[in-house]
Symmetry: C2
Subunit: 312 residues, 2 copies
């Protein structure tokens, strides 16, 4: 593996000079520059980012923490994050947690040891210690699409889940439904909890309260993936959606619009959120501080055909 020194030797100059032409920050004589550039090409030299990081005390990498990439919404978010990061010259270290606290601990330790410059988190176990631990180590973190935390140092690209759930309940209520249930992830994710709260408040506002999944004529899922699973389960059980029971999701993953699915859901723009999260994170890195910024986006209800009039 060729190093700077070898290039220098090859060009008959000092390593400082080679470094200078690479950085392009210092003026170097046209002729020497040419010699050096030639040497670089001839040796096929590629800078060692690790050495550079050590010296510069910045890894030019960010961590992406995601409960489960198999969830298309998380995948879309990750795609956006990686793209944006790459655009800024940052690499993306990805890590799953399954929303399991012990994996979260392990993962945030690993990312910290690798000195990621920032991390964006797509989902958290409820009561997770991860953000604080990262923050305390001086790493800016931004939460994309998440639940109820309140550390002032955090960055948020947040969703107005309460408003969304209100809109969903209103839609269903207008369709005549009076028996509602909410279903969330098998693992405990913060955003799931917050949506559930929004759901319950919307119900309370109408003097209703949640019933069991079996009794409900309308079931709201924490996300689209769950909603898809629900439809599958319901229809395998012999009932049909939306005639016997209405189902809604959350996220508007691409498949939700499929003609065989047509899921009523709340749209979130993963593309935008991921990009925005990186923007906030890198801005904080540059400023040498934390993000300390919250923005809340309110997402539209997308009405399709998984919801219909309440059966009577």
């Amino acid at each position: 593996m060729t190093t700077l020194v070898e290039v220098a030797r090859h060009a008959g100059v000092s390593k400082s000079t080679v470094s200078n032409v690479i950085q392009g920050r210092v003026t170097v004589a046209e002729t020497t520059r040419r010699k050096v550039e030639l040497a670089i090409r001839e040796t096929g030299y590629r800078p060692n980012a690790i050495a550079r990081s050590l010296r510069a005390r910045t890894s030019h990498s960010i961590g992406m923490i995601v409960p489960d990439l198999n969830n298309p919404f998380h995948a879309a978010l990750s795609v956006a994050v990686e793209r944006a990061a790459k655009q800024h010259g940052y690499a993306t270290l990805i890590a799953h947690t399954d929303c399991a606290p012990d994996i979260e601990t392990e993962v945030s330790r690993a990312l910290f040891e690798r000195r990621v410059d920032a991390v964006v988190i797509a989902g958290l176990s409820t009561g997770s210690a991860m953000p604080t631990s990262l923050l305390d180590n001086g790493i800016p973190v931004v939460l994309a699409s998440f639940g109820g935390l309140s550390d002032g140092r955090l960055g948020f690209v947040d969703l107005d889940d309460a408003a969304a759930m209100e809109a969903v309940v209103e839609h269903l209520f207008g369709l005549g439904h009076r028996s509602f249930a909410f279903v969330s992830q098998s693992y405990a994710e913060q955003s799931g909890e917050r949506r559930r709260q929004g759901f319950e408040q919307a119900l309370a506002r109408r003097a209703l309260s949640a019933v069991s999944r079996e009794e409900a004529t309308a079931i709201m899922a924490h996300n689209d993936l769950l909603a898809l699973g629900l439809i599958d389960e319901i229809e395998r059980g012999g009932r049909t959606v939306p005639f016997d029971v209405s189902v809604t999701g959350h996220d508007d993953i691409p498949l939700a619009a499929h003609s065989r699915i047509r899921l009523t859901t709340v749209r979130s723009d993963a593309q935008f959120m991921g990009q925005r999260a990186v923007e906030l994170a890198l801005r904080a890195v540059q400023a040498g501080g934390h993000v300390a910024h919250r923005e809340i986006h309110t997402n539209p209800l997308v009405i399709r055909h998984s919801t219909g009039a309440a059966p009577r």
Copy 2:
């Protein structure tokens, strides 16, 4: 950020000693060990993996190159890769390419500069220079689920696409179909090409040749995501699957089994493939060489309800 030296000062020993207790490779007196461990805890010290990497000349990270994480199969593969890597103490750097040659170049450069110890590739543009370029730089690479390359240094966790396509065609032929079409990705991916070849051979064996999408009564998609899109398009156009046209996919993503979809497809075990790819890659890293190993898995046809008797 606390460093080794600070821990050493804190404990009143030399940094070598601290390093020794951390590595645990050298015997160190019980009492000093205790002092050091205390100091580590008190200072909240976390080793700097970057410094460690520079010294050890190994980054303990692998690169995962993926055309598009929005494809559930790629996502599943990535999940498996990340999990396996994590288990071995390796971090995963993820990078998308969209199968665009210029992005591939950029991405492999970035991974090389970051000195990833190995890379696993989920998909490649046809005629991609990426594998060779990586290989030439001494980085072991393994291709998971891919097309027709033949560098002896490569590792392959490969699929028998020809056999798979033969099985699909046989199934459809038995159902009475005589007009077949194949559809692949908008971008040029190697594995797509190979499946198309398998498809055409299977046709030739029956003295048939491919027809246009519009004329076909059976359409084979390069992967499930495409097949889903196809079903959507066909049914929005007023025809129905499988009554007017049969559709098959490839991969068996979780949604393929959904009661609303029931896609006939070829199953690949992303979980297994990802894990195996990492295994091969890390084994090569340890041995200090290339993978130079090819294994071919033959995948079963899963018959569901997107295929039916040919219309007459």
